[in-house]
Symmetry: C2
Subunit: 239 residues, 2 copies
């Protein structure tokens, strides 16, 4: 690629460069069981804003894109800086660019990831709390809309394999997997139908092991590593 | 939303605002039959660059995001300005932001759309030509990568209904629909399997009309309007 020519790639609007800035934000979903309860919620970390605009409101973890880092790198860096979280994989979700989404003009490239509960280190981080994704307070900027969109994508686009890989331990029963789906979808699923769909999907592999306990033994399954986790196609590691 | 506070939403890196600019580009796919041939190609319009960098190379239609327009609006405007095309619907594809994708730092929000051949006005536009998407020359910037990604998304993510709606006339035979798929996927599909999948998808509605001609009559189908064309979910008309 030519790197010597200083001119911009398109006819330049001189005022534009100074007026539009690029930020990244990240939606991190995980599941959390309510203590002493059967209830499981989809939760995400939010960061309390310590300055205007929207000082005191909760916002998605994020920050400004640096001139010398890729979008992917900026998402990972700002997430780690604000929450201490370092998911192994962040997927780009959508670019939000409405004119009035911030007092100044900001285009936010939003990433998302699923985390297993055991990937979250113990200990609290200053100004960070986890919230039930379906019962959020008023967030800063358009972040309520962004979470709503991320939840919608989670419900619609995520296959069995990715849910299993992203939210469950290495081995799990079909009942555990079904519970994940029920939490995400917000409704009960027929166990027999669910088993049939999963078995036909080719994304799970039955093991020889069983979960034993107070119920009858339940077979453990694992994620099929041959199935691509991230459907980024030819993007590979680029952004 | 608060519109009075002048401060940026995150701690500001002062150098950042001047160094990163936001552009939009659009990939428009349509099908074109090679004259006097059975061959059909996926084609897209490209614009010849008239200035550096990459003067003389072909590039995706696009331009700078204006401070007072949404991402969607910028995609529509720049596409119309460069090619004269005005698709009824553009979908955001991906934000490309590699550090070295342009001599200056540019984050490009890429949109895409499918067009029916009859939606393209006759007459040529200066510096615009249509290219076979699978046999492109070296394009400006990372635009070969972007087209490759868009083709991959077209092959993987687009359901029967959207293909039908985006590329075919209002009524079409299953053979015509299958041909569209064969062109996009680059391989033959088994007619019986294809028919079964389409009939089970619920996205097409059989009509009482038939295509007659030299072959035996073939039933015409239409797109099921009850099925959501664009799976943007809660985004609605926002961007």
């Amino acid at each position: 690629m030519t790197r010597t020519a200083p001119a911009p790639p398109f006819p330049r609007t001189p005022a534009q460069a100074d007026a539009i800035r690029v930020a990244v934000s990240t939606v991190i979903f995980t599941l959390r069981r309510v203590p002493d309860s059967e209830a499981v919620h989809v939760v995400l970390p939010l960061v309390r804003r310590t300055r205007d605009p929207h000082e005191g409101l909760w916002a998605l973890p994020g920050g400004w894109l640096d001139e010398v880092e890729s979008l992917d790198a900026a998402a990972s860096r700002t997430l780690a800086e604000t929450t201490g979280l370092s998911p192994s994989y962040l997927e780009q979700l959508y670019a939000f660019g409405a004119v009035d989404r911030s007092p100044t003009r900001v285009v936010s490239i939003v990433y998302w990831a699923l985390l297993r509960a055991d990937e979250i280190a113990d200990g609290s981080v200053e100004n960070v709390e986890w919230f039930d994704a379906t019962r959020l307070p008023q967030l800063a900027f358009d972040h309520n809309d962004i979470v709503e969109y991320a939840l919608w994508r989670l419900r619609n686009k995520v296959g069995y394999s990715r849910i299993a890989h992203g939210l469950l331990a290495d081995e799990f029963t079909l009942a555990e997997l079904r519970e994940v789906y029920e939490v995400i979808l917000g409704r009960r699923l027929d166990p027999a139908n669910f088993r049939r769909q999963v078995e036909h999907s080719g994304t799970l592999i039955p093991t020889d092991r069983f979960r034993t306990g107070s119920h009858r033994p339940a077979r453990l399954y694992r994620y099929n590593q041959d199935v691509e986790l991230a459907d980024r196609g030819p993007l590979g590691s680029r952004d």
